[in-house]
Structure formats: structure tokens, C-alpha cells
Symmetry: C2
Amino acid sequence: MNARSDTLVLPAPLPLDGGGELARVEVAYETYGDLAGDGSNAILLCHALTGDQYVASPHPITGKPGWWERMVGPGKPIDTDRFHVICANVIGSCMGSSGPASLAEDGQPYAMRFPVITIRDMVRAHVGLLDALGIERLHAVVGGSMGGMQALSLAANWPERAERVLVIASTSRHSAQNIAFHELGRQAVMADPRWQDGNYYGGDAPDSGLAVARMAAHITYLSEEALTEKFGRNLQDREAKSFGFDADFQVESYLRYQGSGFTQRFDANSYLYITRAMDYFDLAEEHGGKLADAFAGTSARFCLVSFDSDWLYPTPESRHVVHALNAAGAAVSFVELSAPHGHDSFLLDVPALDRVIGGFLG
Amino acid sequence: MNARSDTLVLPAPLPLDGGGELARVEVAYETYGDLAGDGSNAILLCHALTGDQYVASPHPITGKPGWWERMVGPGKPIDTDRFHVICANVIGSCMGSSGPASLAEDGQPYAMRFPVITIRDMVRAHVGLLDALGIERLHAVVGGSMGGMQALSLAANWPERAERVLVIASTSRHSAQNIAFHELGRQAVMADPRWQDGNYYGGDAPDSGLAVARMAAHITYLSEEALTEKFGRNLQDREAKSFGFDADFQVESYLRYQGSGFTQRFDANSYLYITRAMDYFDLAEEHGGKLADAFAGTSARFCLVSFDSDWLYPTPESRHVVHALNAAGAAVSFVELSAPHGHDSFLLDVPALDRVIGGFLG
């Protein structure tokens, strides 16, 4: 389906919400499908916290299929025979875009010298990419979870850049519980002595702490029902409890696997920076405290999707955004889908989501 | 109110569910109020995971008030003018009863040589204490959270020992999600290099890992609503975000405080052993797979209490026990109380709980 990988160096330093600017910003991205001559068929896909630009291409480290292959491709709901799909690694991450593991001007990794960034800073880099690609107006911006935050941020801050805004399993602000889980993960990373204030590049990375952080996050991605249905109290490869501290239960084995697998493909400092950006996200606060004001004068069409089993960004979070869009007079549709998988539903087999996405993109 | 501290050495080795037995078991306990001449007014209070015997006495390490002072005392719902209240530190813990920090026969701490124990093993030690105190039949056994598991275990395995069984915010088995959170905590402890396979006594304890474990647990003790109401997105002692990794948000500061404070009073290995005992708890499994069979022939009166905001042991867990008790023909009352604090409601100011407890104890 004509997949291409590339990396752009932004032509100018990137101004940052925290003040100052970031020099020589690299944005690594993938595209799928061809751009129409009039540039009207581009879709920007925004990835989640630990996602990346490999939407429908094998992951270069793990070799696993792209994270949304079920949704993106020829004849699929995001149809690459019709649309030119762009997905860029967010800044702060570790798959080619500038982040804490990148080299600073002194030739050493930034590590914790990398500036604390925001969701809007990530989107500002995306807009820089669209400028470089000559794409003035997107057919749509689409994202789930943190990707949905980016879609909302683009709609609020660059309202002329997207005709359609599709926000899945997301929120306009991080709740106290969301912040609490992220802080837990950051403390797990920072408690690992190999973290060394972030200066571990070239040595042993804080994999133990990062694995614990990932385990905590994974619990929030699945619903209680999904965990019960998938694992219950089933034992792992044994007939009886061991009366020891091995992974007796399948759910223990699953979490350990998720934790250790993650450390092979993700940088611990990136985890700190991206969770921080998410915790800082509060779209209303950015716009004078009133969420409707964030969308004043928008001409885009919006679609919000939530899942009934998602307890990370539950349906009221989406409804809150919908109310603000209504107050702003925007065109918005909203659906809560029933799916058993919790927050992860947006990545999994939920045929109703395929229909919603296909229909909204037109 | 006539509080006494004491430690009993059980007269015989304690048989364990995992096989074998534990020699020279110490049980540290507190009592409040006087035992009636006929021994009929004794109440066994069972503490939670990180609780201890200091129900209504200042904690010897932290100096803080006892954990249930609002409930236990003269004229209080558990009235020490009328009842003789006993609370023993569970085995596996670290406040005087035998646990991994205790010395084994070779004069060295058990550390991970301490046997993996179960909730029933804890209760077996309690029963040994009751035997030594000459208390044949309790007026009531009472417990919240893990304390409720002990109350259920006593009712099921020593049905003649209690007239009344009061189980608050508890469950008859740990769910996959419960196990997942505990495994996360254990992995955080074990990931701390100072854990050293448990052999840290006399040196630096794995406080960083234990603090992370405690942070994770604390998130599960509060409801999402309670976190929002208590902290929301409020900043801690500052006017604006720092664009750094300090505890900008109050909820971050709260979690760090809870984590670090906990390590002063609790042993990391005890945390491993007690969480393991809770994860292993499945009262139906112990009794042939049918929960009603656990209560066959009981003559005790039961009362179960759940809280509508408790997502750690939500109401359906209590209802499941009530159905089994109904099937066993037991006398049981059940109430779901409305309280905003989540699982921690059983420790906090919920006047309706006071009335339920006072009424049930008669």
C-alpha cells in the first residue's frame, strides 16, 4: 500500500509551551497511500503514549505488525486506496523523533536536559511536518487515547488545519486518578538506581523500574471484567499453587511479560516526558478555563467515541467534550460503544468501531 | 479503657496450609476492656494488610492514633465498657508476630526462608491465641478488607468459635485485578536492588520499591471520585506548573508522602508475604469449589457491609458471599453503604457504618 518512512528536520526551532524553544527538531514519520494532486485526502493519525509511527508496518525492533493494521490499509476503515495517511512519532518519544535520548548540541544525549513538553508542543511539531509536506488542510485528524488529545489540541489551536476530528477513548484533561497512575510509573522508573537521574545512556537502562511502570499502566488499560474473563484465578503452567513467589497465576505471568517486553522497545526517560505531557493536558485551562472557548469558531466536524468498559478515560470524559462542542456550536456526533476490553478496546477487534470510523471519514 | 499489650508464644508448632509447620510462633496482640467472668464478651478484631494490633492505642513507631479509634472505645460502636476486644498482629507481618524479619532457629532472620502462609494460617494462629486466653466462643469476629477474609475463614473453618461474623468491604476470593495490583507491588519491591532476595536485614531496606508498591495500593483504596474531590488537578504549593518532574500536583505529593511514610513502619518482605496470602485466598476452593459448602452447618449470624464507591472489593463480592450464606441456610444481613471514600471508607467517618456495627454486635 505504498508505505514510506522518512525523517524531517523542522526548518526552524520549535517554540515550547514551557518557554524557550527546541533547536533542530527531528520528526520521524510513516505515510501510507498516495497524496491526491489537490492535497485533499490526507489523514493525520496520532499515536498513543507508547505508540509510534508504525501504524501498518512491522515494528523495526519487535518485528510485530503495526499497531493499527486492522484499521489502516487498502479497503480498511481508514482506506489507504483513498487516503494519504501520515503518522509521526511524537517529540519526546524514542522512535526517531527528537526526545531525551537524542543528542543535544554538545553531542551528548539530552537525557533530563530535554525540555518538559506538552501535548500542544507535540502537535506543533506535527503542524511543522504538515507545512513541510505542503498539506494545508487535513481531510481528518484521528487519534485514540493520547492520540485523541493531540487531535483535540490540533482542532483547538490550529482550527483551520482539519476538516474532521475523530477522538477515540480520550479526554480533554487528565483526572487526579490518571495523574496518580502516571506518577506511580514515574516513581517506579526514578526509584531504579540505574536511572541515575536520567544519565544511563551507554550503560544499563532502568529496565526494572520501567517494567513496573508498564505493569501499572497495563492494569489500567484492561477492564476488571476483561482481566477476569481472560485470566480469572487460573494458574500458569501448573496444577497447584507453588507456595512461593513465582508467577503462579496467569495474570502475574501476563504482567511480567508485558513489563519486560516493553523495555526492549521504549526509553525510560521518554516514558517520564510523555506521561508528564499527558498529566499537564487540560484543554480548558489553555483557553481561559472554559472548554467551549477552546473550540470557538471551529468549522470542523467532530466525532467522539468512548467505550463502556474504559475506566481510564470513561464515557463522561468524552461527554464533557461533546457538551463543550455543543456549546461552541460545532458539528459533533458521539457514540459510546459496548466492548469488553476496557481502554484497549480502541486497538482491538470491535467491529462497531470500524463502522464508526469508516462512516465518519466518508 | 484498660488497654494491654502482650505477646504469646504458641505452645506448639503451627501447621501450615502449604505443608509443614512453623516452630515457635509468636503472636503479638492488644486487648481493650475486661473479659467477663464467663468469657462471653470477647470480640476478635482482624486487621487489614498493613494494619496491626494497635486498634485504639498510639502506634509505637509513628505515634499516630490507633487505626480504628473512632470505632473502638468506651461508648463507641465496639464498646470497650461492654466488650473485651482482642486484636492480634497477623503472622507474616512485622509488629511483633512471627514474620520474615523474625529470627529463625539459626539466629538469623528468616527473610525469604519464612514459609508462604495463607489467610487460614493467620487465623489458625489467632485460634491458638484464643485457646491460650481461654476464650472458647467469641461474641463476634470482626474485620474489614483482609480482616474480613480472616473473619470469613474463621467462620468457615472454626464455626463453633464465633457467634457473630461481621465482614466489611471484603471478599471471599481475590479477583484477577486484585492479584494484578498485588503482583505490581511485589515486582516493585523485588526490582529494588536493595531487596537482595530478601536478605537486607541489618542493611538498607528496599524502601524505594516498597514506597512504589504502597503508592499503587493507595490508588486502589480511594475512589476516582474521592481523588477528584480531594485533589482534582490542584497544584501543590505553587501557582503554575514547574515544567519539571517535581510533585506539581497535590495528588503526586500525597502519593509520595504515603509511599515514603509507609516504609518507616513496614517491612518489605512482610508486604510480599501478606499480599501473597491475600492473592491465594479463595474460600470456595478450600471447600471443594462451592462457597456455600464453606458455611455448611454454621450457627453463626453474619453481617456483610460493602461501600458503593469501593472498586477494590466492590459490592458484588459481598453479595456473592451473601448468596452462599443464604444457600447454606445461615442467618445473614447485608447492607451496601453509600460513602465517597472508596475502599478506605471502612476506616473513615461513615456514621452509617457505626450504626450497623453497633446494632449487629447487640
